[in-house]
């Protein structure tokens, strides 16, 4: 088994196929560009042991497959807690119930809306479980509990501490009857508002009546409709203009109403395609056509949905796009099937928490690893009549070889914890010091220097290939497939991806001192160039800065795509890196003050002296201090983030596809049942790829594969 690509998807396939249940039936080798595993999730350790990520990785409580993988991995690893501080998966992942969106009021002012989403029974990845059996009562109960959380955030806010009534220790399911009735009373108090909402609903239905019954004079009905709708909207606007709480609740209510209306109107309940039946539509467009107002579709919730999925075609924020069916499916899974907490935060870098343990377990199981192997071409064999096509060759560039051909040892020890470095160990490489002086960039598509070529031939070097590269790499390495197979051609043109940008800051003051008093939170829906922020205080103890660090902040966002010609220039990554650096400076000077009011001076400019440097060398107290932080332009083809644009999901290719008799695909860009860029999709696809080869795990055990 040749698994090309050491990201989540490829390593999941390797994990499944090397499972003891198979009794060594599959000899698996993972081929990886560069010096470390992880793909888009790779992280390294830089100066002061600081963690350097591609961006922000949040694990959601519904990631059943991903958590099951990690739990099995840690259980098998059996680390000694006395020797290693990540001994169990619970050391690696911690519940993170506080999340927020940046809400923009009608008058243009920004304010955060932070919610403490209640804990739910169980833990993600609990064995022998899909999520607990859903009855309608469970569904409604969850709705009630979530609405209650929503109302509590409106009522009391979260003023620097978690609202006691929603604290994680307290099981909201066990709320006292008095609290339930208070909640219902509060809902009822919005009855007047619901009446207006019903008015608009009624008008929409009247409109449909008018279309269906031509004997009713259409003009008159339309006039009636318009007068009432205008009147109602004006009244709602007056009611909500000065009450952010009411306005937010109304926006959510509108979105929920529109979703329910759309589900019924489009017959999704009985459509065998489930939510996929509306994947040709953009989520916002679908909501609009089902009655959501412009304000609701531009609400903080929806903006956050798009931001977290980087759902902007070509990285252009004026062109948002996410397939409606996948968006609804994702929302249902995210809000109604999470276990434990809504979000789970990694306590270390993703490389430390995910890819180092996976690497160790796979190594122990006998999986082979070939680092410094960059795939160049998937070569097809001659077409035999009556036979399915097959992959004949896998061609690689060998970027480096080790001294004396010894196996490359990729991990470094950070005070007892196996981690990935941010640079290769040059000492292990033949001619390594020269390569270092030359500035070899093994992870860069634009650095094609190599020490040789290697071609694997079917039957001699591999039998079955698992293509688990990033979606951005597919056009470069699958030319033969794309040129000869119309489905691959369609997939390559329709399944798009975008570059992203990331910023990590280390600060000398606590977040509260900087003026943020809403708790340690993940916030999205803010402005570009960095619309998402996560507070990461748990990393402080792990890093060894010479200056005491009191806060760590991660920011990320989509990045405008370069043109095709632009991307061919050899200095393209450096130019984009400089561009993101300029974005970071602008963001800190112009936009960060709204989040952290005391991080800016009287003129509203960022206080650069707040930044902590990982080295003892003093940096200036001006913009140049940005160079002591971590700024990243993710423009490498393999690092691009896969999109779920409307009308494109049907072009994806499934890991279960039977066209090629010895090729399967894995990655969050494949048709894996949850067609959105995320860790869970990658793991699902990896499991599907394993199923394609071995019929294990059973499809029914891949949680969420069968789902409306």
């Amino acid at each position: 088994m040749a698994v090309i690509g050491g990201g989540c998807a490829g390593l999941t396939t390797a994990f499944e196929l090397s499972s003891p249940e198979h009794r060594g039936k599959y000899a698996v080798t993972v081929y990886q560009t560069g010096f470390r595993l992880g793909g888009k999730g790779a992280s390294g350790r830089g100066p002061a042991d600081r963690i350097e990520e591609h961006g922000l990785h949040l694990w959601m409580g519904f990631y059943e497959n991903a958590f099951a993988l990690m739990r099995q991995c840690y259980a098998e690893l059996g680390r000694d807690r006395k020797k290693c501080r990540i001994a169990d998966w619970t050391d690696a992942f911690v519940p993170d119930p506080l999340c927020g969106v940046m809400d923009r009021a009608p008058d243009g002012r920004w304010s955060p809306w932070v919610a403490n989403l209640p804990p739910m029974p169980g833990l993600p990845g609990d064995p022998d479980a899909a999520p607990a059996r859903w009855t309608v009562a469970d569904y409604l109960q969850r709705s009630v509990i979530l609405v209650r959380s929503l109302l509590e955030t409106i009522q009391t806010g979260v003023q620097g501490k978690v609202d006691k009534s929603a604290s994680p220790e307290r099981n909201p399911i066990g709320a006292a009857p008095g609290e339930l009735s208070a909640m219902m009373e509060r809902i009822m108090s919005y009855g007047g508002l619901a009446g207006f909402g019903g008015l608009i609903e009624g008008l929409k239905i009247l409109d449909e009546v008018a279309r269906a019954l031509p004997r009713f004079p259409r003009e008159g009905i339309l006039r009636f409709h318009q007068v009432l709708a205008d009147s109602a909207r004006a009244q709602i606007d007056r009611l909500t203009a000065n009450d952010n709480g009411l306005r937010r609740l109304w926006e959510v209510a509108e979105l929920v109403l529109a979703t329910i209306r759309g589900i019924i109107r489009d017959g999704l309940v009985t459509d065998p395609r489930g939510f996929s039946a509306i994947d040709h539509l953009d989520c916002r467009a679908w909501l609009r056509q089902n009655g959501a107002s412009e304000r609701a579709v531009d609400s903080a919730f929806l903006r956050a949905l798009y931001d977290l999925a980087f759902a902007y075609e070509d990285g252009d924020i004026e062109r948002p796009g996410i397939a409606a069916g996948q968006a609804v499916r994702g929302a249902v899974r995210a809000f109604f099937t999470y276990r434990g907490a809504f979000l789970w935060k990694m306590q270390y870098g993703m490389g430390d928490v995910v890819f180092a343990p996976l690497y160790e377990v796979l190594l122990r199981r006998g999986v082979g690893f070939e680092f410094f192997h960059r795939l160049r071409n998937v070569g097809l064999g001659p077409k035999e009549p009556g036979e399915r096509p097959h992959v004949e060759t896998l061609s690689f560039e060998v970027q480096a070889k080790t001294v004396a051909g010894r196996p490359y040892r990729p991990l470094v020890d950070v005070r007892g914890l196996p981690c990935w470095p941010s640079e290769p160990d040059w000492g292990q490489l033949a001619g390594g010091q020269a390569m270092k002086r030359e500035g070899r960039r093994f992870e860069s598509h634009w650095d094609t220097r190599n020490v040789g070529k290697r071609t694997l031939t079917v039957g001699r070097d591999f039998d079955i290939a698992v293509l688990a590269v990033g979606v951005g790499a597919v056009p470069f390495v699958c030319r033969e497939l794309i040129d000869s197979d119309p489905r691959w051609k369609e997939m390559a043109s329709k399944v798009k991806s975008v570059p992203t940008q990331a910023l990590q800051l280390w600060l000398r003051k606590e977040i509260g001192e900087l003026g943020w008093n809403r708790g340690s939170v993940n916030v999205s829906g803010y402005v570009e160039p960095f619309d998402t922020w996560a507070d990461m205080p748990q990393l402080i103890r792990e890093e060894t800065f010479p200056t005491p660090v009191k806060a760590v902040a991660y920011f990320c966002s989509v990045l405008r795509d370069g043109g095709e010609e632009e991307m061919k220039t050899p200095d393209y990554p450096e130019r984009r890196q400089r561009e993101v650096r300029r974005h970071a400076i602008r963001f800190l000077n112009e936009d960060l003050g709204r989040l952290w009011p005391r991080a800016v001076d009287g003129a509203g400019r960022f206080r650069w002296d707040l930044l902590a440097s990982p080295t003892a060398r003093a940096a200036g107290a001006d913009e140049r201090r940005i160079d002591s932080q971590y700024v990243r332009a993710n423009v490498e083809p393999s690092d691009r983030y896969c999109l779920s644009l409307p009308g494109t999901l049907s072009a994806r290719i499934s890991p279960l596809d039977q066209t090629y008799d010895n090729l399967t695909v894995a990655g969050d860009w494949t048709d894996c049942g949850f067609n959105e860029g995320c860790v869970e999709a990658a793991v699902m696809s990896g499991r599907l790829a394993a199923h394609a080869v071995s019929q294990q795990p059973p499809l029914e055990k891949i949680v969420g594969f069968d789902h409306p």
């Binding site: 009822m188 009713f216 008159g220």
Partner: protein, 242 residues
């Protein structure tokens, strides 16, 4: 690992992927109501037939459709009355809010019933725990047999004709509390309501609803909660006619 021939071009026996019996996900809504792998996997051809398992849900859904149809007819009639180009016109402050609140309530109830129906369909028509009962004004205290489930004793007092629906999501044995039954608007509520499992000889369920005098017509709903665990167990709905 299958044996690897030295030269695959000449040897047709090179290892291949197996043929798979299923390559597509099941997107039917039956999957959302149960864990993957429960029973035999379903494909599109094996979806539960569109038969209705319980009379109560079928009646409820039919009622929902009838009410919506009725409302649409009323709305269309009202629209027709405005067919002549209006000069200046404004909604009546009394009529429209009432109509629209009813519309919202019916839509909400109908959606809930729809999901109940889907749940039952996904269980292949298996009888669901829970029960419903109906009563009218001044119904005598007498046990009412629900088909094959529990025996009921109804204690209802109301000035207006009342339809009562008790929807329990699973059998309950312990003490229950009933939250005040409220309508979608207005401050008044039905607070004197109780459900007592096993309170009567023979284990019949006792349902008490005493509607306060002069309570306006409308639909009043309250949660039924397990007194010990505080978990919601269902809902009690009283609809007062005019």
């Amino acid at each position: 690992m299958p044996s690897k021939p030295a030269n695959s071009k000449k040897n047709p026996e090179r290892a291949k992927k197996p043929e798979l019996p299923r390559t597509e996900p099941i997107r039917s809504w039956s999957t959302i109501f149960g864990p993957n792998g429960a029973g035999a996997p379903l494909n599109a051809a094996e979806q539960p037939a569109a038969g209705w398992a319980t009379d109560s849900v079928r009646r409820g859904v039919e009622l929902g459709y009838r009410v919506l149809d009725d409302y649409l007819r009323q709305g269309a009639s009202a629209a027709g009355a405005f067919a002549a180009p209006p000069r200046t016109w404004a909604p009546s402050p009394d009529d429209l809010p009432r109509m629209t609140e009813r519309m919202l309530q019916y839509t909400s109830d109908f959606t809930s019933l729809w999901f109940d129906a889907m749940r039952i369909m996904s269980n292949n028509g298996g009888a669901q725990p829970g029960s419903d009962g109906k009563a009218t004004r001044s119904s005598p205290d007498r046990p009412t047999e629900a088909p094959g489930r529990a025996r009921w004793v109804l204690d209802v007092r109301s000035e207006r004709p009342a339809e009562i629906i008790v929807a329990l999501d699973e059998p309950v044995a312990g003490e229950l509390t009933v939250e005040p039954l409220r309508a979608s608007s207005g401050k008044r509520a039905i607070t004197d309501a109780a459900i007592r499992p096993g309170a009567e000889p023979g284990g019949a369920l006792r349902v008490r609803v005493h509607v306060p005098p002069k309570l306006p017509p409308g639909r009043y709903t309250g949660a039924v909660v397990d007194a010990a665990t505080k978990q919601p167990k269902g809902r009690l709905t009283v609809t007062l006619a005019k």
